[in-house]
């Protein structure tokens, strides 16, 4: 156990975690030259295409240290995007140390701080690393000072590194050995392992990633998951390299995987404790809080006949991504579908894209909303969740409704404080704190309604701060609010899938923008289309799309036919992705786009 080091790599998004991990894999020859590619651990297609990490990735490496010993490192690369911060907290629970990366050109950013605090809460040893020092715009002294201020370390403790050139990697590897404590635990105690992640393999079922805290797990042991109380045989156990490598046993302090043939995601819970049936441990390790979805949206098949296939696809996705929640719902406009919960808009986009790529399910996503809590005036009624506009009670019987708030931290330069204040106040935010980290960097704390930040807040923040602001948030509490149902009507017919819950003070401006946006999104048809936004009986905004009077190509001769056919084929394909709402054709993407109001 003395020769094991468990650590994760944490940082703000894009500060170079995956690239730095590449270098460590390379130098320890965990991965051959031939297999090497940039961000080798980002193995999902979507991760590679978007250049971001979505899921934590654990891998074992062997490092021959200067002291003559070869150490076993369990490295966990984590995602930086705020939607996936729960991935970071799980990874942290399996480690004794963390490499905290800071991009030398960007300095400390919001997730640097929040991830650092997560690590400190778990008593991890922090190794501060100033990364990307190869860049011309690197501000080595300035950012070093920021790091010293933030964690109270000494200047010499900060390692200057570059994932690009490989500078500093040997120092990092030595620091891992020297500074991060070896795991503690008792090999002779009953087995106690923490399930910190799980992935789904279509052939093998659920693969649980475990950190063994105490005892030994042997292949073939009958194991029990303490919370679910389910028992299975550990058919295969092993360690995580670029592939899973089967082993006969896993001892306290180590990280590895168990395959038990579980095929149903509900049977395994990330955060659970695994022990043996023969010699069970006394108590469970403290698990994780359930991740709570932040955003809800309806997901509907384009073709109603695909409903069961969609359910199937969502179930499979959930095996890989326990943070996705869904339950059946129905919409007057769209028929049968699912109300899904997501961690944020990026998460929603990724699920939608995975459905399309991995399951060939093109779906319609409705206008997203956050989860509200409502109470009726009727005696004896209880508070209930409102996750969809369809659940919003009639104002006449509504006692109150509450909306979720978050606490936001925004780090920026002093010159942008004004613009950011204006933005946050417009979003119904309240400034709580303003801290000068240095003369050039200030941290602002706001309480903000979650509903105001899920859609386009981040884009707006970037634009008002010219990119010099980073942002992080945590859920805070629910607060009473004045919510109304903004109903959208097409030719007089209300369309539930386009309706939204909004704050009363915003209803009119949002209604106007939504009508405008729809005017752009809806194709013209043979008749006029009236688009209206209403609150109760009152129409607050209106647009019309004039009838399509003429749609005919002038010329169609020998050289025009191919091009014309392709154009009309494309049109036909687009139409296949439309949903008929009353007599109006609505393109698939309109439902989701409609609240991306931009401006």
């Amino acid at each position: 156990m003395k020769l094991i080091r468990n650590f994760c790599v944490i940082a703000h998004i894009d500060h170079g975690k995956s690239t730095l991990s590449d270098r460590m894999l390379e130098i320890t020859q965990t991965i051959g030259e031939r297999e090497m590619q940039d961000q080798a651990l980002d193995n999902m297609d979507l991760e590679r295409e978007r250049g971001i990490t979505i899921k934590s990735h654990a891998i074992q490496l062997y490092y021959p240290a200067k002291d003559g010993n070869t150490y076993t490192f369990n490295l966990i690369d984590t995602p930086g995007h705020v939607d996936f911060s729960y991935e970071v907290s799980r990874s942290i629970a399996a480690c004794e140390g963390a490499l905290l990366l800071v991009d030398a050109a960007q300095g400390i950013q919001a997730q640097t701080i929040s991830n650092l605090y997560l690590a400190i809460e778990h008593d991890l040893e922090i190794i501060p690393i100033l990364n990307k020092v190869d860049m011309e715009s690197a501000m080595i002294d300035e950012v070093s000072d920021q790091i010293i201020d933030l964690i109270g370390c000494k200047k010499e403790e900060i390692i200057l590194a570059s994932g690009k050139t490989g500078q500093g990697i040997p120092d990092i590897l030595e620091a891992i050995v020297d500074r991060i404590p070896a795991p503690t635990g008792d090999v002779n105690a009953p087995l106690q392992g923490l399930v910190f992640d799980s992935v789904y393999n279509p052939f093998r079922g659920v693969v649980a990633y475990v950190r063994i805290m105490n005892g030994v797990l042997n292949q073939g042991d009958t194991v029990r998951f303490v919370n679910t109380k389910k028992e299975y045989d550990a058919d295969e156990i092993g360690i995580l390299q670029m592939n899973q490598v089967p082993k006969k046993k896993l001892e306290a302090g180590n990280v590895g995987y168990i395959i038990t043939g579980i095929k149903i995601s509900k049977e395994i819970k990330v955060g659970d404790t695994v022990t043996t049936v023969d010699n069970p441990c006394e108590k469970a390790i403290q698990g994780f809080e359930d991740v709570k979805p932040m955003v809800f949206a309806g997901i509907y098949p384009i073709d109603n006949d695909d409903f069961e296939d969609l359910r199937d696809a969502l179930e499979k996705l959930q095996l890989n991504d326990a943070s996705l929640t869904f339950e059946p719902e129905s919409s007057a406009a769209l028929g049968f579908g699912f109300r899904c919960g997501f961690l944020g808009m990026l998460h929603l986009e990724i699920i939608q894209e995975r459905l399309s790529r991995e399951f060939d399910q093109d779906v319609i996503t409705t206008v997203p909303n956050v989860s509200y809590q409502a109470m009726l005036t009727k005696r004896g009624s209880e508070e209930f969740n409102v996750n969809t506009p369809n659940d919003f009670p009639d104002p006449g019987v509504l006692a109150y409704v509450k909306e979720p708030y978050i606490q936001a931290q925004i780090i920026t330069k002093p010159e942008f404080i004004g613009a950011i204040m204006t933005l946050c106040l417009d979003k119904r935010g309240e400034l709580k704190k303003q801290i000068y980290l240095t003369q050039e960097r200030v941290e602002l704390h706001f309480d903000l309604p979650l509903a105001e930040i899920v859609f386009d807040f981040y884009d707006k923040l970037k634009s008002v701060s010219k990119g010099y602001a980073s942002f992080d948030y945590q859920p805070l509490h629910y607060k009473e609010t004045d919510l109304v149902l903004l109903e959208l009507k097409l030719n007089g017919e209300p369309v539930d899938a386009l309706s939204a819950l909004v704050h009363r003070t915003k209803a009119e401006s949002i209604g106007r923008k939504v009508c405008k946006k729809l005017k752009d999104l809806l194709p013209r048809q043979q008749f006029m289309i009236a688009i209206q936004a209403a609150v109760g009986a009152k129409i607050i905004a209106r647009e019309t799309i004039s009838a399509l009077r003429k749609d005919v190509t002038a010329k169609c001769y020998g050289g025009d036919i191919t091009r014309k056919r392709k154009l009309l084929e494309k049109q036909k394909k687009g139409k296949k992705k439309m949903r008929q709402v009353g007599n109006v054709e609505v393109p698939q993407k309109a439902f989701l786009e409609v609240l991306k109001l931009g401006d």
Binding site: Q526, R549, Q571, K576
Partner: protein, 375 residues
């Protein structure tokens, strides 16, 4: 039987709406004629059909070629093809080129039909579109062509030009009707990407065509041409006494055609091919006796879609007999998709087929797209 199309990629000046392939520098004209002749030698031996029934010189501006140059191309064609049954030999011509001398030399060539790009009799429109001729030249060339004995004439007009009032459009048409021309092509001004017109509209220097006005002018066109004895046999084409354009009509009936010259398309019933749309590249490749051509294989669905696309634009529409000849997937699909349009009277079901109604013609693209088959 096959049609032959020859693309002559030169123009005196660029009309603002035009997205055809052409160059306004005539420097390579001689080389181009040589190259086209070489292409004939290269491709004609492999073309499956020998009997030709139509020849069409399009462009660009084929009237920039001399009678001699035209004859040389004919001679090359006659080495491989049987031209004895050619019923229609058309040349596209612009009024400014059609001087009496030019008409004389054309009358001596195998050309027997002229397609004249009048576009408008209104000076303001001609300037707006950057045409190279005047209204006066437009009138005169029609009279001269008649005098020279060209009785197979067709004239192009453009409507929907920003600023063209409905009264002016009627005048344009009446101006034309007085000549009793056997065939007309009338096109709605179309704003194609990457044209000067597109740029002018995008930068606010010109208004875009007004859709409602264009629709009105199209309807005026239908009414007035009918009144004057023309049959509206294709969206943009009108004929007296069944003098339909043979060459163009064969496109709509899926007949094979061999296209020569840069950017020209060919069709052999199964493949569509197109030559590189670049004069120097085309000439160079012909000089080295290599084709610069792209080929696309048309699947059954592609061919069904093209059939729908072309036929529905014509007054003959989709024939029931033709539908029966198709595989059942397509005929069933067609009958299912056409139903709502019969119900809303955009399509007429007649004894022998399905044709667009007058209202349907205004929405031809939308309707054909809906009739398309996509897996």
């Amino acid at each position: 039987m096959t049609g032959i199309y020859i693309h002559v990629p030169f123009c005196k000046q660029a009309c603002s709406y035009c997205n055809f392939h052409f160059s306004t520098s005539l420097r390579l004209k001689d080389d181009m004629v040589e190259a086209i002749i070489r292409e004939i030698h290269l491709r004609a031996p492999n073309w499956p059909w020998q009997a030709v029934d139509t020849i069409y010189f399009g462009g660009g501006t084929p009237s920039l070629l001399s009678g001699l140059e035209l004859s040389r191309i004919y001679d090359a064609l006659s080495m491989y093809f049987d031209l004895s049954n050619v019923k229609e030999s058309t040349l596209e011509a612009n009024p400014d080129d059609l001087t009496p001398e030019k008409l004389k030399s054309l009358a001596d060539s195998p050309i027997n039909r002229l397609s004249i790009g009048i576009q408008s009799f209104i000076e303001r429109d001609l300037q707006y579109m950057n045409r190279a001729h005047t209204s006066e030249e437009a009138h005169k060339c029609i009279e001269d062509a008649y005098k020279m004995g060209f009785d197979q004439l067709t004239v192009d007009l453009i409507y929907g030009v920003p600023g063209l009032t409905s009264a002016e459009w009627e005048d344009n048409l009446n101006n034309l009707f007085q000549y009793d021309i056997p065939h007309l092509s009338c096109y709605a001004l179309t704003v194609e990407p990457k044209t000067a017109l597109h740029h002018q509209i995008k930068t606010g220097k010109s208004d875009p065509p007004d859709e409602a006005l264009v629709a009105d002018q199209f309807q005026t066109l239908q009414t007035m041409s009918e009144h004057n004895g023309y049959e509206h046999y294709e969206i943009s084409n009108f004929a007296k006494d069944k003098q339909y354009a043979r060459h163009n009509t064969s496109y709509w009936f899926g007949k094979p055609y061999l296209g020569l010259g840069p950017s020209a398309h060919s069709y052999d019933g199964q493949h569509r091919q197109w030559n590189v749309a670049n004069n120097p590249k085309y000439i160079k490749s012909m000089q080295s006796r290599q084709l610069a051509i792209e080929t696309e294989y048309l699947s059954d669905a592609d061919r069904y879609n093209e059939m729908v696309l072309c036929r529905m634009r014509t007054m003959w529409g989709m024939n029931k007999a033709d539908l029966e000849g198709l595989s059942e997937v397509f005929s069933k699909h067609f009958l299912q998709e056409v139903k709502p349009y019969i119900d809303n009277e955009k399509v007429i079901e007649s004894a022998d087929g399905y044709q667009l109604s007058r209202a349907g013609k205004l929405l031809a693209d939308k309707i054909t797209s809906d009739l398309f088959y996509i897996d």
